[in-house]
Symmetry: C2
Subunit: 200 residues, 2 copies
Amino acid sequence: MKSNEYDRRVWKTRQAIHDALSSLMEEKKYSKITIQEIIDRANVGRSTFYSHFATKDELLFSSVEDLLEILNQYIKSYIEHDEENPRLISVVDFFEHIQENSKIMKGLLKSEGGDLFFEKVEAYWNDGIEEYLQSKLPKGKAPKVPIKILSNHISSTLLSLLKWWVKNDMSYTPIQMDQYFRDLIDPCIDSVVSNHSTMD
Amino acid sequence: MKSNEYDRRVWKTRQAIHDALSSLMEEKKYSKITIQEIIDRANVGRSTFYSHFATKDELLFSSVEDLLEILNQYIKSYIEHDEENPRLISVVDFFEHIQENSKIMKGLLKSEGGDLFFEKVEAYWNDGIEEYLQSKLPKGKAPKVPIKILSNHISSTLLSLLKWWVKNDMSYTPIQMDQYFRDLIDPCIDSVVSNHSTMD
DNA sequence: TCATTACTGAACATTTTGTTCGATTTAATT
DNA sequence: AATTAAATCGAACAAAATGTTCAGTAATGA
C-alpha cells in the first residue's frame, strides 16, 4: 500500500496547479480565471484537477492557507507578547513577511478571490484583538468606543495599511509602516486602557 | 418617432431586472447569481436583458449607481462644509442614508460584487479627503503620517465602520456612529492640522 | 519486480453565456 | 382611433466552461 500523501506525483501536480493559479493571478482577476486556463498552464489533465480540488475557490484557499496561517501567527504572538506595555506591540516583522510574499499578495489584491482571503484574515485578527482589548479593559469603566467597534477598527486598519502598502509598491520600510500603524492606532487604544503614556 | 429613454416599457424592464438582482442578492452571493436566474425572476426575455446590459457587472454598477452618487455627495459636502472647524464634520446624515438603503447595502455586503462597489466608493472618498488634508496641511510642516496614508486610513475607517454597522444590524444610532467615527479619527487628524482643540 | 496509485485524455452531459431574428406587443404621436 | 416606431418575446443557435466517467498508461513505494 502507498500513502498517497507522500507520493511525489501528488506533490508535483498540486504544486503545478498552485503555480499556475499564482501566475494567472498576476495577469488577471481571479473571477476571470477559468479552470481550463489553470489546467492548461499547469499541464495537468482535467480529471486530475478535480481529483485534487472540487472548485476553484477550494484551490484558492488551499493556495493561501500557509500564508493565512503565518499572518495569523504574527498577530497572535503580537497580541500575546504583551507583558509590560499595554499597547499592541510591533508589526515590523509582519510587514517584512508580507514583503517576502509580495507576489502572491499582489495577486490577491487584484482579485475578488482575494477579498475572500482578506475577510478571513480580518475576522481572525478581529477575534484576537477583541479578546486582548477585553482583557485590558479596566473593570467598571466603559470605553469611549465599544470594544467590538474598536477591535474591528484596529484589524481593518492593519489590513488597509497592508493593502495600501502593497498597492503602492511597498514604498516605505516595514519599520516606517509599523510606526504609522502605531500613530494611527495608539490614541484609540489609549481611550480603552488607562495607561496614558506618550510614546516615542 | 419615440424617444426610447422615456418609454414606459424601458423603465419597467430595467426596474424589473434591478429588482430581480436586488432580491437575489439577499439570497445568495453575487458571483453565484446567473443571468438566467435574473431574467427568470424579472420575467424578461434573454435578448431583452442583453439589450440593456452587456454583462452582469454592468447591471450591478447600474444598480448601485444612484447609491454611489449619493454617498459621494455626502462625503463631498462633508468635506467642503468646513469653514470654522478644521476637522471633518458630521457623518450623521451619511449613516442615516445608509439606514434607509439597508436592503441593498446588506446585499452588497454578501457579495464579491459588493467589493467592486465599495472599492469605487473608497477610491472616491480617498481623493476628496486627500485633497482636503492637503489644503489643511500647515506649510513647511511635514505630518507625522504621510497624507496619502492618512487619507486612505480615514476613508477605509469610514467604510469599515459602515460595513460593521450594517453587518451588525445597525444596532447603534447614526449619531452614535458619528461620534465613534470622530473618536477614532480626530486624533489622527489633529496630527496634521495644527489646531489642537478638544472637542465635544 | 510488482502491486498500487496517480495521471492522462477523450468522451460525454450540463450549464451558462451571448447572439440573432422574425413575430408580437406596447407606447407615443397625430 | 389609427399609425408607426420601438421594445420585448422566445426560440434557436453557437460557444465556452463546468463537472463526471472510465479505460489505458505511467510512476511510485515497498
